[in-house]
């Protein structure tokens, strides 16, 4: 008996908390008026927008804005867009990071959609399913989903992706030209998505340059296990690799090992030269702002979606950034640059498995 009354009390307590913040739930319990105030405070804060009606973007991403990889590539791009458009008065953005739980991301996207954002970016291929469901409910809001090519045929969804295999190919060419041992190692997270695309392109680049080179690939089954990524690099080095590459945020561990052993590194997504200035040869850096500027222009014209974009070497969305700290032989640099040109003008072609 007592237990049941306890139980009822708990339910009542919850109801109290509920009605306190003005939910249209059970009217039963008395409302302490005091809790009303803070809720209003937020609304006030939310409405204090800049006078000149800036373009407002919300982005939801699975990792953090400083992961030196996928998340950071988007954050940096937004910062650059902001600079390009003339500061916070013209361009505002907010973000939800670490939304690796798809369900939480969906809630975030839906929530942003109810506020007056001009563009909502779902920066993770796993968010597609959620977006497909949310976007039709908000026909006047523009969404962008990456990385993919699929807009689900919805008029208010843009799709964007990175042709990571292109930069991967160039990195592969550089790696093959620099390898003396004819063994190259790759550290990947799980064998899908952007990482797989990059690795496949990389392998193609190596093989095209020197078919005798062995490319060993190690997927460590995690995006966060820095220790295992570092051991994977050690394993590659022990297996004779003298050039390494890898994708996703846990590669920092691998870069450290490469640095220790004096083995060269080629990066992707965000610039990794700062981590090991003496061994990072080049990084394929994503410049999402190329795509973002296009999308923003379209939204301003009234087109809310239906198109898909790609960053690649040609449109400058992917840039092979050479690290000044590493003295790359001129002929290799020239070869890399011609490869970039070749991919752009179509004279270099390759197929992915």
């Amino acid at each position: 008996m007592k237990k049941i009354s306890l139980f009822v009390t708990f339910i009542l307590a919850l109801a109290l908390a509920l009605s306190a913040c003005g939910a249209p739930a059970e009217p039963a319990v008395e409302e302490p008026a005091a809790t009303e105030a803070p809720a209003e405070a937020t609304e006030a804060a939310a409405t204090e927008a800049a006078p000149a009606e800036p373009f407002r973007v919300a982005v939801v991403m699975p990792s953090t804005i400083n992961d030196l990889a996928f998340g950071q590539s988007m954050y940096d791009a937004l910062v650059r867009v902001q600079e390009e458009m003339g500061g916070p008065d013209a361009f505002e953005f907010v973000y939800s990071e670490s939304m690796f739980v798809v369900d939480d991301a969906a809630a975030a996207i839906r929530d942003y959609a109810t506020q007056d954002f001009d563009l909502i970016i779902a920066h993770g291929s796993q968010y597609g399913s959620s977006l497909q469901e949310i976007a039709p409910d908000f026909p006047d809001t523009s969404f962008a989903w990456g990385t993919t090519v699929d807009t689900f045929g919805l008029p208010n969804v843009f799709a964007y992706e990175a042709a990571s295999h292109e930069g991967g190919y160039v990195n592969g060419v550089i790696a093959a030209s620099l390898s003396k041992s004819n063994v190259i190692g790759v550290v990947g997270p799980i064998e899908t998505g952007d990482a797989k695309l990059y690795v496949d392109g990389f392998k193609a680049g190596v093989t095209a340059t020197n078919p005798d080179i062995t490319v060993n690939v190690n997927y460590i089954g995690s995006f966060s296990d820095v220790a295992l990524a570092s051991e994977a690099a050690t394993t590659h080095i022990a297996a004779g690799a003298d050039v390494l590459t890898g994708s996703a945020q846990m590669v920092t561990g691998a870069i450290g090992k490469a640095d220790e052993a004096g083995v060269l590194w080629l990066g992707t997504q965000s610039s990794q030269a700062s981590l090991a200035p003496s061994i990072v040869v080049a990084t394929q850096v994503f410049h999402w702002e190329v795509v973002l500027m296009e999308i923003i222009a379209l939204v301003n014209e009234g087109t809310l979606g239906g198109q898909s974009f790609e960053i690649n070497l040609e449109n400058g969305g992917e840039v092979i950034e050479f690290n000044d700290g590493y003295a790359l032989p001129d002929e290799v640099k020239t070869l890399a640059e011609t490869t970039v040109q070749g991919i752009i003008d179509g004279s270099v072609t390759f197929t992915l498995p």
Binding site: K2, K3, L6, F7, T9, F10, I11, A13, L14, A17, L18, A20, C21, A23, P24, A25, P38, A39, A41, T42, A45, A46, A58, P62, V94, Y95, S96, E97, M99, F100, V101, V102, D103, D104, A107, A108, D111, Y112, G124, S125, Q126, G128, S129, S130, T147, T148, V149, H165, P189, I190, T192, G193, D194, K196, L197, G221, S222, F223, S224, L352
Partner: protein
């Protein structure tokens, strides 16, 4: 009267503890130059501020409750199941397979089968550590931790290969996800929100678990083994069998939670390579919810809602006042620590009551003369 007040206090204890944790969090918010009042208003609003946000809270609470129900069973049997994550995944895999394979069958049949499959998948994934503990003396903390990791890799393997969405199999990026379930196979929604039938199922099951634990021989034996395995053995109970059963059932509920996430929320499985990407850490948070609910299936209902509200509200707080996600994690940790620490006051009072004998003292003896015992071990 004093009794009443104390009872009220007991019931509000987790809420008070949560408030205390938030007060500590407020100090951290001040350091981050965020107005705590504003932040917490955003949290409350995000969790309960509108019909839709309350629905979101319930959506979040549903898997927590299901996992918590399983935890009530296993912890009362004195087996610690921290394999909820893996069990959810395996349950979801089996359930998804049903829905993707038998596309011609009527919806009600598939949903029933799929939920059963989820239950079964979780039962297997929980039953293995159970059997290992009962017959090979392999500690269940160890095996459930390992089984979680194995389940994640199993999921990655299946979603990249055998179970991949055919449309993804063709494109280069190959997002590791299954095809989407047919509309007919999706759990019905209860309102124009994401709230789905799963929430009701969970509540009904909470009542059933309550009956199982306190009104059936099976439940009685699980608890008896949990309280005193030696005495139970002498009383003729086959202890290993009930250890297995406790973990098996515990896993089954987690598996069901996984199945319901697929059929009620996501309509497909997607992996980001980690367990929490799919489970949202419900396999862990469910343990916390069960303990908030004092390992009682019915109490677990409000406890799950409270914890679900915290998770949903915290995410919304991240959006509205732009605090780093890391702070949210800290807050969750603080809440868990404070709530679990606050238990002592409730227990103290209980003991005092028992000693003083103010009330009809000890809990009603069970059919077979073994005390039910209160809440914790």
């Amino acid at each position: 009267m004093r009794q009443r007040l104390e009872t009220l206090f007991d019931a509000l204890l987790p809420v008070i503890a949560t408030l205390a944790a938030l007060a500590v969090g407020a100090v951290m918010l001040l350091f981050l130059k965020v107005n705590p009042l504003e932040a917490y208003a955003a949290l409350l609003k995000g969790a309960f501020g509108s019909f839709n946000s309350f629905a979101e809270t319930l959506v979040k609470a549903t898997p927590l409750l299901l996992v918590a129900l399983g935890i009530c069973i296993s912890f009362r049997g004195d087996v610690i199941n921290i394999g909820g994550e893996g069990q959810m995944i395996v349950g979801a895999i089996l359930a998804t397979w049903i829905g993707l394979t038998f596309t011609d069958a009527p919806g009600w049949l598939i949903i029933t089968l799929a939920l059963l499959a989820g239950f079964l998948g979780g039962a297997v994934w929980g039953g293995i550590p159970g059997a290992l503990k009962a017959y090979f003396n392999v500690n269940e903390i160890l095996s459930t931790v390992m089984m979680n990791a194995i389940a994640v890799q199993l999921m990655n393997f299946l979603l990249r290969g055998p179970m991949i969405d055919p449309s993804q199999a063709e494109v280069a990026s190959k997002i590791p996800q299954t095809a989407r379930l047919l509309d007919a196979f999706q759990l019905e929604r209860l309102a124009p929100t994401r709230l789905h039938m799963g929430a009701l199922i969970a509540v009904v099951l909470a009542v059933l678990v309550y009956i199982l634990l306190w009104r059936t021989t099976l439940g009685y034996r699980i608890r008896a083994v949990g309280q005193n395995p030696h005495a139970s053995r002498y009383a003729g109970i086959k202890v290993p069998r009930y250890v297995v059963t406790a973990l098996l059932l515990s896993g089954a509920f987690a598996g069901l939670a996984g199945a319901i996430q697929v059929y009620g929320v996501n309509y497909r499985m997607i992996t980001d390579g980690s367990a929490s990407g799919f489970t949202g850490s419900a396999g862990f948070n469910g343990i916390v919810a069960a303990l908030f609910g004092q390992l009682h299936p019915l109490w677990s209902i409000p406890a799950s809602v409270l914890f679900g509200a915290l998770l949903v509200g915290a995410n919304s707080m991240q959006r509205m006042v732009q605090v780093p996600s890391a702070l949210i994690t800290v807050l969750n940790g603080l809440v868990v620590i404070f709530v679990v620490s606050s238990e002592i006051w409730r227990r103290r009072r209980q003991r005092r009551r028992l000693v003083v004998g103010e009330e009809e003292a000890p809990p009603k003896p069970d059919k077979s003369q073994v005390q039910t015992g209160e809440a914790q071990k």
